[in-house]
Symmetry: C2
Amino acid sequence: MFQVSVRDDEVDIVIAAIEPDLTSFLEEWRAVFSRFHLIIIKDPDIKGELKIPGGFNYDTYTKADIQQIIGPSNAATFSGYSCRYFGYLLSKKKYIISIDDDCIPAKDTKGIQVDAIAQHINNLSTPATPFFFNTLYDPFCKGADFVRGYPFSLRNGVSCALSCGLWLNLADLDAPTQALKPELRNTRYVDAVLTVPARAMMPMSGINIAFDRELVGPALLPSFKLAKEGKFRWETVEDVWTGMCVKVVCDHLGYGVKTGLPYVWRKERGNAIGSLKKEWEGVKLMEEVVPFFQSMKLTPAAKTAEDCVIEIAAAVKEQLGRIDPVFTRAADSMVEWVQLWKAVKTRT
Amino acid sequence: MFQVSVRDDEVDIVIAAIEPDLTSFLEEWRAVFSRFHLIIIKDPDIKGELKIPGGFNYDTYTKADIQQIIGPSNAATFSGYSCRYFGYLLSKKKYIISIDDDCIPAKDTKGIQVDAIAQHINNLSTPATPFFFNTLYDPFCKGADFVRGYPFSLRNGVSCALSCGLWLNLADLDAPTQALKPELRNTRYVDAVLTVPARAMMPMSGINIAFDRELVGPALLPSFKLAKEGKFRWETVEDVWTGMCVKVVCDHLGYGVKTGLPYVWRKERGNAIGSLKKEWEGVKLMEEVVPFFQSMKLTPAAKTAEDCVIEIAAAVKEQLGRIDPVFTRAADSMVEWVQLWKAVKTRT
């Protein structure tokens, strides 16, 4: 399944270290990760030395590195889960894969350990089909094809820019749902990859993703911070916002987004009822965010991911800014991110 | 999983008898079908008495019945696979399920026989979610839920009007693909149901479907006949056309379309290379059909499925009629179908 056309040195695995000791995490992933270069970003809010076992090829970055490269004023953007975006900024590889540090490899229905990296690379290096839905899922998977009625002119597909993997065990629910259903676990292994159709929006989770940095890198951005968000996934929506930015960019530039395989196994972490007490505003804001992105139309002048992000930011400021100041901050942050992206590319 | 709110007498199973002896087909399905009423339509082109084993609750209809009810001029519409539409016309039930007579029950990954009827009814009687994609598939399946970022205002979903099941073994390919890959079989059991997002078109297959007759019955229509089509699925696109009509109607009226489970097992039938010699025009026509339906917009005046079909027919005639006379015939047939539908409903 792994495409021989992708070399190991075209891939960076970016890890956000939310806790300093990565020993057990990296040992679990050793068989899968050790061939690739890792970029490890230490959450600037945490203390303690990073612990990384031997035998990996990696670079680490800490708060001091962040401040040195982007200046202290922007450092806050890269706290918590968002520290990974600093890795996206520094990578020079074609493909970036990022997996949360509370996840370990999943097993498929036959009990065989999933190679999440190979599956992500397969998703990204085979075409996506956003313009017509194939009922037998990804026609580029082994043993699959296009079903009767699928126009031949659409069978070449388009470049896949984003691969969204899924999770077994602890599902990626919001804090209220997790608190209401504390026993709910995702046990269903769905053996499929599919392209999310053009113009359909979906809630991307940053837990287990991969993307083509050359196509859409600047759209993978750390811009949507809730006032009271913490260090648990269910307290954030930064990745959901980012995913809709990328989807709008892909729809506009003619790239595809896939979702489904690979799965990772999410370990237990945190207490959802505790999170609820923070008056999590994510639920309320999504009611505004989703219709906004669904109706977002970019102009023909937007020819690169950078252009697209700037257009989206302007629309965010104009249409959402009056609803809540969090949107104005997000718009400003998106513009800053593109400036930073261009500056880092120029410098290196 | 079966919804207790659906009674057995709210369901008709419609079978198109393409061959007169249904003994082995019905014996395979006995455990699943025998609780329900069957409507069996004999393909008006075939000879020989229908053979139906005892113990089923059914009505049969033959060419004479078709001619009596709709007159001889329209009878041709109901030949081959299309004879099932005569059953759709006569049914008075809320739900209709139709499975091709070369299919037998499939087994899931644990080797347990699938109850396709229960799964279809479950799909139709639980809400669909066409306005935002849920990455963990149908949130109304057991053990599933909405993922983080899914707007709460969209979590009630909408009525599901169409459930498209899939097939193991012989996949539903077009004649050229089947001829090119004679060994290709679908062996991947994907344990998922999902709502096809609003405004995304998909190639419905009539092999294994269910729908809510009260919501969209008039849109399940026999209108798109190829000049040289035969008795093999890969020689037809009538169901693909019909599926896009229904999808446009659902998108307009705010209903959902689900695809995925249940699977059926398709037995081998026919020779694709023989079919290719008929200069099958389905491939060429789909290049026009798909963009047409993708850009189809209905007016606010279309408030019922009948209204929608009439509007679609007018657009077919105007936009596609000049390309090929098959489209003009399809448009006329759609209008006739709605007239027939109304006449039968008034009469009974």
